[in-house]
Subunit: 234 residues, 2 copies
DNA sequence: TCTCTTTCGAGAGCAGTGCTCTCGTTTCCA
DNA sequence: TGGAAACGAGAGCACTGCTCTCGAAAGAGA
């Protein structure tokens, strides 16, 4: 599993090259079969090697899938970060809509990968430590945006209800992990925007909503706009 | 697959009994393995029959899973309907919180079943017609509640933004399917509450949020309260 | 440069899967 | 009561993840 810290010998190079090749074939396979149907033997076959040889590089199918998981987290994180970074810092609303639509676009282009990230956990429920950092990238882009809004003193949308003490306590660890000041009210709204985004994409991609009855493009756009208003992003 | 419309012979009775037995064993197996790991052979083994015999009752594993799907939709629908029906009609807020918490409770008690319903689609992406009716039960409870709120003239929470023409057009089919008048603004908010609910449950159950860092009980409660306020449920 | 150890790929094999086909047996219906 | 339909069991096919062994290749230390 572990890559040699400094590739020195020809063997080291061959190893990381083959590791990459395996991951690449796995990704390609993921394009049309879904994480559950991913086959180690098929990958080996496409690479012209014995299936047992793959296990020199990934000790099990689950480890392979885990590697795929961080790769996909990183890729979607890249897409979101790039889209968000392309907008001038003070245009908060546009930064939000850019990242939201970037995530959706990526999801639509990589349905099985999205399922791998945000669908039901596929292996024997193992979320190894390696995955939590890459998984946090997109949420962190979002929270940084929220912190910027706080810093700019962007007024929130119409007030709703006070944040009770218990909820404030529940959110405290998250507020702390951001490392920048965010008002409770703003944080609560942010903590509703994220599952709304994921929930909407999940319902769209997994087809749980009556197919074709809803124009997802315009609905998603409107939904993102509303969230922007709610978060006071102008 | 199809059950005899009127069970008359002993064979008919045996058939529906065995069909039920298979489904029951499948449900039991689903309690601790997840939809993807569901094994026809294992079910046959537990029932003391040859695996080939199962195929007399379900032509394929996917058909079995589909049957499981409608069963789970119905079960969660029952739970939600029961909880919502136990609240006096005019207490709109309580009806909402009751159904939301009922859904979450059911999901927490049936994680794999929830994954089957709202996680990544497990078979070769087939959502047969049989599943759409049961799948609509819970959303329909919710929409009926919204229609009741409209009828009672419950004032919505603080205004946010107007509903653009395109969005109104997109939602038209859904408004129509409800069959009762709902203002655009209210419908839009309802159409945000539902994915928020599903998204929150998905993130909680699939553990995509840093484990243990958030008290899901209190957060979910607060979130549901906020949605209630937003929907004008008092 | 020559050993010695580690790493590698390939092949066979195990236990499991979904699914099909056949072959007697049982059940029902006319 | 005889023919047709449904049934359960078993063998078998093609596939899976994974393990083990074995011979070859590569690197490291002398």
């Amino acid at each position: 599993m572990e890559t040699p810290s400094a590739p020195r010998t020809a063997r080291d190079f061959a190893r990381i090259e083959l590791t990459r090749a395996i991951l690449t074939r796995a990704r390609a396979q993921l394009a049309d079969v879904g994480p559950g149907e991913l086959s180690v033997r098929q990958i080996a076959r496409e690479l012209g090697m014995a299936s047992s040889a793959v296990y020199r590089y990934f000790p099990s199918r689950d480890h392979l899938i885990t590697a795929l998981l961080v790769e996909c987290y990183d890729e979607s994180g890249d897409a979101v970060e790039a889209a968000e970074a392309g907008v001038p810092r003070q245009q908060l609303r546009k930064r939000w809509t850019a990242m939201a639509h970037a995530l959706r676009d990526w999801a639509l282009d990589h349905r099985h990968e999205y399922a791998l990230l945000y669908g039901s956990p596929v292996p024997g429920y193992a979320a190894p430590e390696d995955t939590v950092m890459p998984a946090m990238r997109t949420p962190q882009v979002f929270l940084a945006l929220i912190a910027d809004a706080e810093k700019q003193g962007a007024p929130l949308g119409a007030p709703t209800m006070p944040v009770p003490r218990k909820e404030r306590a529940a959110l405290a660890p998250i507020a702390e992990s951001v490392g920048r000041p965010i008002s409770d009210e703003r944080l609560v709204r942010a903590m509703m925007a994220w599952p709304l985004l994921i929930g909407q994409l999940t319902l769209e991609l997994f087809g749980h909503l009556h197919k074709g009855v809803l124009d997802y493009d315009v609905h998603f756009t409107h939904l993102v706009d509303r969230v922007a208003g709610d978060l006071g992003l102008t």
